[in-house]
């Protein structure tokens, strides 16, 4: 059973036990435009919440993706690194960025559920 939560910086997290899969939202990709490059964190790196974890570059500009929670990077999406345009076609599915082991579940408390995120982007 997974739960999806959102940050005000337009990342999504699918929580499954103590592992979260992280990506950027469909709203975020629509704002960025055509993504041409993505830089993912190294596997094994320990991220602190709000630290720059990945970079998304559109034709126009580069944007940081922040770690929504603290934890160790367990896996990154090799398919996404090879095909950054997946972010535009399937931001909240195939275009996940990385999986992170949740260091502190209490950090999830500050995140939004889908209804709250929808209100945030409305």
């Amino acid at each position: 059973m997974t739960t999806t939560l959102y940050t005000s910086d337009h990342e999504w997290l699918a929580i499954d036990g103590d592992v979260a899969t992280v990506g950027i939202t469909d709203y975020a990709q629509s704002q960025l435009g055509d993504v041409v490059f993505v830089e993912l964190p190294k596997i094994g790196r320990t991220l602190k919440k709000t630290e720059a974890a990945a970079v998304v570059e559109s034709v126009k500009a580069a944007s940081d993706v922040y770690a929504p929670i603290s934890g160790e990077v367990l896996e990154t999406n090799a398919e996404l690194a090879g095909e950054p345009a997946l972010i535009n076609s399937d931001a909240q599915g195939k275009a996940w960025f990385f999986k992170i082991r949740i260091a502190d579940k209490s950090e999830l408390g500050g995140l939004m559920d889908e209804a709250a995120y929808k209100a945030h982007t409305a």
């Binding site: 435009g33 055509d34 041409v36 490059f37 830089e39 970079v55 570059e57 559109s58 034709v59 126009k60 500009a61 580069a62 950054p84």
Partner: protein, 382 residues
């Protein structure tokens, strides 16, 4: 983009309502509220311009008429030569030439297009510089010329391999025009100034049209299925792939035409030993650069990976050195090349093609190679 612009103070071009109705994403640019992209997005807009045709609103740029008080256009040309290092006298009636206003240090105040319309000169200058350019012209040429700002005209660029066929439907003379031909023509029955030029590296036209008729003309061109509206985002990636300078980024008051690799734009007649050598602001410095070389040079840069290297990135001679040797002045992703492209200034000793350099991006040194420009072959109809 200027951070100080606030939405209320932004000016609108005569095509503002069209942009909004087409779903343009409006952003501040050079004091105007301009479309950075339409729903198709930068990538599709860019590729469509290279394969079909794109319509660009460039009405924010300044249009000026320089009318000789003597009635002889060569007198206006001679007068303008006091401000630019180009051979203006040699521009034949119906022709256009790329030029730059120079300053006393040999730097560039703006770059512009100059056309000979038979009885006067027609100038197109950058939006961000247009007030300053007009003041510069008035301060220096008022004795010889009447300077008229053509604020009641819009400017539409139509670029790409289908531009000719799209315009031919509205302007019978368009197909017979050659690259850099320019003059008054009827387009859809309207009194326009048409030049076969643009800033994308593609064949195409720029059409100056009375402001009140601009939307009707743009909509008529957009009725052609080959023509899509194109925003500033793709305009920038297209001109970057074409190796063309963006004023305020790749050229400015600190770069001479020689440093900027724009020697081709300064005709022999204005260089040392030429019939009208010098006689423009900063001539001593610019001609010395021609005669003895400059210490730095604008070059094209290609990366090995897919990470774009953007404006402001510092350049290094090797992976470890702490002293930067130059800076990227324009950089991004080239959709037609499907790869990053950039340009920047490096010491002339490191400007040869295939020189290996490094750019610092997010704390890492990315390898770059000095590459020939244009990055994408231009398709001008000469």
């Amino acid at each position: 983009m200027l951070a100080r612009d606030d939405k209320e103070s932004l000016k609108r071009t005569p095509l503002y309502d069209l942009h909004v109705s087409l779903g343009g994403k409006m952003v501040p640019f050079a004091g105007y509220d301009m479309p950075v992209q339409y729903p198709a997005g930068v990538l599709k807009e860019h590729l469509h311009t290279r394969s079909q045709a794109g319509l660009f609103d460039v009405s924010h740029m300044g249009q000026l008429a320089l009318r000789p008080k003597s009635g002889r256009v060569e007198d206006a040309a001679r007068a303008l030569e006091r401000l630019v290092p180009q051979d203006v006298v040699a521009i034949a009636p119906g022709r256009q030439r790329y030029a730059q206003f120079t300053n006393a240090d040999g730097g560039l105040l703006d770059d512009l297009m100059v056309a000979n319309f038979g009885d006067h000169l027609f100038l197109v200058v950058n939006a961000a510089c247009k007030e300053q350019d007009e003041a510069h012209l008035r301060a220096n040429l008022s004795g010889d010329c009447v300077i008229e700002q053509l604020a009641d005209r819009a400017l539409i660029a139509l670029q790409g391999p289908k531009a000719e066929s799209a315009l031919a439907k509205l302007c019978a003379e368009a197909p017979s025009m050659k690259f850099m031909d320019a003059g008054p023509h009827k387009v859809a029955g309207l009194d326009c100034f048409v030049s076969r030029s643009g800033y994308t590296g593609e064949d195409g036209f720029e059409i100056s049209v009375p402001a009140g008729d601009a939307e009707r003309l743009a909509r008529t061109l957009l009725d052609n299925a080959d023509v899509l509206p194109i925003g500033l985002g793709a305009r920038d990636s297209l001109r970057l792939e074409a190796g063309l300078c963006l004023y305020g980024h790749d050229i400015d008051t600190t770069t001479t035409p020689v440093e900027a690799a724009l020697e081709w734009s300064v005709q022999k007649s204005r260089r040392s030993g030429g019939a009208r050598a010098g006689g423009f602001p900063g001539a001593d410095k610019i001609l010395a650069h021609f005669d003895n070389g400059a210490s730095r040079r604008r070059v094209g840069l290609r990366t090995e990976g897919r990470a774009p290297v953007r404006e402001g990135a510092l350049l290094f001679a090797d992976a470890a050195s702490s002293e930067p040797i130059g800076k990227v002045t324009s950089g991004g992703f080239g959709p037609s090349l499907n790869a990053p492209v950039a340009m920047g200034y490096v010491p002339t000793s490191l400007s040869a093609l295939d020189t290996k350099l490094f750019a610092e991006v997010r704390g890492q040194r990315l390898p770059l190679t000095v590459a020939a420009m244009p990055f994408v072959k231009n398709t001008y109809k000469r």
